[in-house]
Amino acid sequence: MPDGNNKSLTFSVRKLRKSFGPVEVLHGIDLTLRGGEVHAILGENGAGKSTLVKILSGFEQLTGGELHISDESGNSKQIDAWDNAIAEQAGVVLIHQEFNLAEQLTVAENIFLGNEIKGRVFLDKKTMRAKAQEYLDILRSDIDPDATVGQLPVSAKQMVEIAKAQAKNARVLVLDEPTAVLTQQESQVLFELIDRLRQAGVAIVFISHKLDEIKQIADVITVLRDGQLVGSYPAAELSKDDMVRLMVGRELSSLFPEMPKVSETAEVVLRVSNLLLQGNSTASSFELRKGEILGFSGLVGSGRTALMETVLGLRRAAKGNLGSVEIRGERVDFKQLSAARSKGVACLTKDRKGNGLLLEKGLVFNFSLFSLHKISALLIDTKQEEIAFEKAVETFDIRMKDRSIAAGNLSGGNQQKLLLAKILEAEPSIIIVDEPTRGIDIGTKSQIYHFIAQLLASGHSLILISSDITEVIGLSHRVAVMYHGEISGVLVGDEIEEVEIMRYATGLKNKNLHQEILDKSGTSNAKA
């Protein structure tokens, strides 16, 4: 356990750059971490936070810039080679969002995993157990070093991770969204622990989307936007509203085509009322009108995909769900995606490789997989299949070397167009598109926006889930924002702008709260 003597610790990056292939994602970041300081890193999805912490902890290589770290006596020197092993040697330890623990082993065994203390021949289990107990004591944790990790609750697992970091003599501890998996109470326990580590001189990097938490524990806040450094600020000087403004603040691009208007009296094609998702306590309600595009914004993990997949029958609703889904006024309860499809509802998955396309299969095979029912009686009409495919290649401008390649050999953008063609071939009238432009180039992005505009013009209705906030603003007629599994607000007109969306996405604002108060007084009146 480091004691006060390395308060002089500094770990800094200068002009740090990172490229994946030809795409640069971090454009010259400066950052200085100091012993005894909690340094929060703040930014929207895709701002570059994860890449930055992966570089700090040696999981990714930097492509430009310098790293400096001070030694025990406080002399800073530049680092030449940097990888995960070297980083841990230097005392920089990352605690992943997904824990890196061997579930079948005990707490003590995990703490010393890869770092075992050996006797002459065998492992010195006794010493390791005693040391593990010591680390846990310092953390004031009552976890039993002999407990099997798989049986522990999430918060205890996190504690084991931190103890493990101590066994590696961590001087810089990087916590990537540590509270995402914790309850509020557990988070408070974690914060007390962070505070003790801070007093012991550890430099702590803390990533969280929850502004309250950052306000509570951070000493310094660094804001990133689109891979650029916005600035580093003393935490005391920033209000939560400042944080949001610094994270957002950029111009809307002119990437987006003109969207056809929707009349207020247009038919409601999809009505979701009080649908209760698994693991949630708040039910969700929203409406989609014919010809409308309803954007869904929110931070990663806010429950947008889960909500739509529950509507579609890809996930079960929570037990005791009393909500309902109506398509054009008809009550439906989809158990299978095929049932949704037959009512004209389809979705474009955000996980193109995992859920969207069979990468090792051919293009035609992938193209027709969602619409085979249209071209087959007893047997599949392959001639018709071929014709439909050729037409789709034309319509969606799918570019390929030749027709016989596997889907996995298409470029990302063309894979996305093939996936869009696959879904639209089933002729749905309500289409849920989830992150339709993630990881594709700007040219294809603009093409996809134009397809979307055409779909609306021809009477389709769309739900657009996107973590790209400019995309949501640029395309949507209305924007529903989700926070912690509930729709915290449906924004219309002038409300649809970045700062306001981020306020709802980070829980600063919530339209339900007034609603709830009304509801509660309503029920109590009813009871009375």
Binding site: L337, S338, G354, N355, G356, L358, F365, L369, L372, I380
Partner: protein, 321 residues
Amino acid sequence: MPKLDLKTAGPFIALVVVFIIGVLVNDAFLSSGNLSNILARSSFIGIVAIGATFVITAGGIDLSVGSMAAFISGCMILLMNALMDSIDSMLVIIILAVIASLGIGALAGLINGLLTTKAKIEAFIVTLGTMGIYRSLITYMADGGTLSLNFTIGDVYSEVYYGVFLGLPYPVWVFLGVSVIGYVLLNMTVFGRHCFAVGSSESVARYSAINVDRVKTATYMLQGVCVAIATIIYVPRLGSASGQTGILWELEAIAAVIIGGTVLKGGYGRIWGTVVGALILTLIGNILNLTDAVSNYLNGAVQGIIVIVAVYLQRGAWRRD
């Protein structure tokens, strides 16, 4: 391009090579009696393997087919012997037994399917379990010995195995019929496409509105029906069933499927490859019978080597892609 041809043609080339070896080894190999015997014998494994092609293509595995065949044989024999007292027409008795056989096969497949999909137990474990259950049941039914079909029925029923149409034994025609139906089903229907898709990626299949559980269960039922068909033509051959019936059929069936170029991890299957695989396996056994150079007892060893080599070649071809 040539590598693609090699992948498709590989099993056929192997069949020709084995056939030529047969010709060189013994003159008797080419006799019409021997050839039709080879075809008839390969029918059992072949028909079971057609079913296995569907299961494996959809990403599953069925180890229970050998014991299932023995169990269905036992049920058929017991049923026919029992019906002797109440029904006069031998033909009616046999037809009833055939229907029962198909029903038991489908039901056994349904059980395997539901256990893997609904109870979410790995197919390997489920079918290892049912394999033990059916093997034990047939041994129990035969009281550790042999169940024999009543002689009078056996006489009528034996026509199914020994009868000849257009110079070929009936089992060969059944094998051919099952193969053609299997080919059409796997390659030309929505169900077949769905088998490929489910075997490639269950999550992509689910997001493509495919009822994954239903497709997988259907493949196990299809496998059960194929086992039943194989049993229907196998029972009249010996007219008996015991704890030794159908031993190691599951491995021969899986071997035939793999030699034929179907991918064990699922996602890709070939019916004609499976047919050729079954023929190769039977040919090897036959050739070893006809020669003194290698002991017939080494039949299993030779089959094992062939399977390993086949998979090795398959992998090589995949890697070059």
